[in-house]
């Protein structure tokens, strides 16, 4: 995920500092970097890498967390594939990809086109500050606010709809509306981030490209397709990767807003992991779910990062 940034920097640094190989090489103490890394890796290894390896290992066992675990091979994965709730959870994560990634990125791109229609507009800093606020809010607070906003009793959205004569709807309680209702909250959190990234990206596109395109008679779409879109490749990849991972790992929002309900209509993989491991005590199944989550994140980020490297 970090590769876009790292990759660019790496190349730049390599290009610039071609002669002196690395600052640290002036001291002939080959053991020193290892000594520096010892403590960070001890902590990171114990509390991230080791549990990660254990997640995969436990996924091949049946375990209630108390008695001795028994090796069952791929049985947990077979069970997951047959489990309607888990399949539903996975599907909901897929739907959330639309709300977390597709909608905000598309909306932000559309708005960014506006910004390319003219030269520098002054005073955009204020919007950046405002648009970014949802990014720094605790997700629990976001969930608490929106759960109330959707409430049929005194909820802001139903109050607003009431002004135009629409009857109050329990958005989070209805099987049909719960998932998009939670999803739209995610879109609300994400769009400002994408917009801020794209606004910054557009400013680094050479204005003369647009002027030249105008002279050549290029229309709005052509300018977007051949100047703006390629120019924003980096920010688009970053916004897509980040929001995609958020869509796959989502837990807080679902836990606070719906606990996966009604009737598991909003459950997601991370919520299933929590349920299985800490409520139902199906530790092996939970570990298998977590392994699926980790693999999904790694595979999808890899796929998106390919676009960064594409010409």
């Amino acid at each position: 995920m970090s590769e876009p940034v790292v990759g660019q920097r790496e190349r730049r640094v390599a290009g610039r500092a071609a002669q002196p190989p690395s600052p640290g090489s002036v001291w002939r103490r080959p053991w020193l970097p290892y000594a520096l890394l010892a403590l960070p890796f001890a902590i990171y290894g114990t509390f991230v890498l080791y549990p990660l390896a254990l997640t995969v290992r436990l996924s091949f066992y049946e375990w209630d967390g108390l008695t001795a675990p028994s090796f069952t091979g791929l049985a947990n994965y077979v069970d997951l594939a047959r489990d309607d709730t888990f399949v539903a959870a996975l599907t909901h994560n897929g739907v959330f990809l639309i709300f977390y990634t597709v909608l905000p990125v598309a909306l932000a791109l559309g708005l960014t086109v506006l910004l390319t229609q003219e030269g520098a507009v002054r005073g955009l800093g204020v919007y950046r500050i405002g648009l970014f606020v949802p990014q720094v809010m605790p997700m629990v607070v976001v969930g608490v606010i929106w759960r109330w906003m959707y409430s049929p009793v005194d909820g802001a959205i139903n109050e607003l709809l009431g002004l135009v004569g629409i009857a109050a709807t329990p958005f989070l309680g209805n099987a049909g509306t719960a998932l998009p209702a939670v999803g739209l909250v995610a879109s609300w959190v994400q769009y400002g981030f994408a917009l801020v990234l794209f606004m910054a990206g557009v400013q680094s596109i050479d204005r003369s490209l647009y002027d030249a395109a105008s002279v050549d008679g290029a229309g709005m779409w052509a300018k977007f397709r051949y100047i703006t879109l390629p120019g924003l490749r980096g920010p688009i990849v970053v916004a897509t990767t980040v929001s995609m991972i958020a869509a796959l790992r989502v837990f807080d929002l679902v836990f606070v807003m719906t606990r996966g309900g009604p009737a598991q209509r909003t459950t997601v993989v991370a919520f299933e992991i929590y349920q299985r491991a800490f409520v139902l005590r199906e530790v092996g199944g939970a570990a298998a779910s977590a392994t699926v989550l980790v693999v999904a994140i790694l595979v999808l980020s890899r796929l998106v990062l390919r676009f960064q490297e594409a010409p």
């Binding site: 920097r9 001291w27 290892y34 991230v48 809010m137 997700m139 802001a156 109050e159 769009y191 992991i273």
Partner: protein, 279 residues
């Protein structure tokens, strides 16, 4: 000429209107939360969107007391401060090693360290519970500090490596000529330069640790050790009918991060955009 300038201004108004609208949508729920936090439950039904008829600052105190937020804020501080401080130290060490030295296995070790940026806590929480239990640390502050520190060190190493890799080599060379060793150079030459990078890192880590939910929900059951976000989710369970109190509690929980953001928004935005590798 004149006409063209006029058109530009018109378009510019359009941009301001659209961006302003987008900003309003982003801020509306939060502003509504703040206004609601000062209303009475009765007033909410009659005046959902307006300013409170009477600003009930007592709501904040009541939410604070009834939700035992004093306890949760204390816990959060006890967790956040060591995580941010220790993660900054560990990240500096690792970032220095990765950024300023060339050694066997550097690429591989760096890639391994980066795995932690992509892997969410959700992916490791199941065995983590048993690992923490094995150390006898469930229901202690350590249960929240150590995993969060480990995840933070992964991101921090990536962040600080960038700083050290870009730090001008002449500086280290000059320090070496003067006879300074690598640690002396780190301490007196590089770290003073690293202050902006470290500051932004500390800010991001503060935000992520303050907002952290899953670890605190799972690894700690004891109310005395519970942190603010989990405290709020329990508070919601009990007070969902008393919306103004709930809004007051949500305001309290988000206040520290929002105050920091108001003061240092430039760093937050630059940091999150550059470090947006972290979800």
């Amino acid at each position: 000429m004149r006409a063209s300038a006029g058109r530009r201004t018109a378009r510019s108004y359009g941009t301001h209107v659209v961006l302003g609208l987008m900003m309003l949508v982003a801020l509306f729920p939060l502003v509504l939360m703040w206004l609601t936090a000062f209303k009475s439950t009765g007033e909410l039904a009659t005046n959902p969107f307006g300013l409170p008829e009477q600003w009930r600052f007592g709501n904040l105190a009541e939410a604070w007391d009834q939700g035992s937020f004093g306890v949760y804020v204390r816990s959060s501080i006890i967790v956040v401060v060591p995580v941010v401080a220790a993660a900054c130290v560990l990240s500096t060490l690792a970032g220095y090693a990765f950024g300023a030295f060339r050694f066997r296995g550097r690429e591989v070790l760096y890639l391994i360290m980066l795995v932690g940026i992509m892997i969410p806590a959700e992916g490791i929480i199941v065995p983590l519970y048993y690992v923490i239990d094995g150390f006898g640390l469930l229901n202690t502050y350590w249960a929240l500090i150590l995993p969060q520190l480990a995840l933070s060190t992964s991101f921090g190493s990536f962040w600080m490596r960038q700083f050290f890799a870009e730090a001008p080599g002449d500086l280290t060379d000059a320090a070496a000529v003067d006879g300074a060793g690598p640690l002396r150079t780190l301490w007196s030459v590089l770290l003073p330069l690293a202050r902006p990078a470290l500051g932004t890192l500390a800010l991001l880590l503060f935000m992520w640790t303050w907002n952290e939910f899953l670890l605190a929900l799972v690894l700690v059951q004891n109310e005395a050790v519970r942190t603010v976000p989990v405290g709020l989710s329990f508070f919601q369970g009990q007070y969902s009918a008393q919306v103004p109190l709930l809004a007051a509690a949500a305001t309290i929980v988000s206040l520290p991060v929002l105050v920091l953001y108001a003061l240092l928004h430039r760093r937050f935005i630059a940091g999150l955009a550059a470090g947006s590798v972290k979800a």
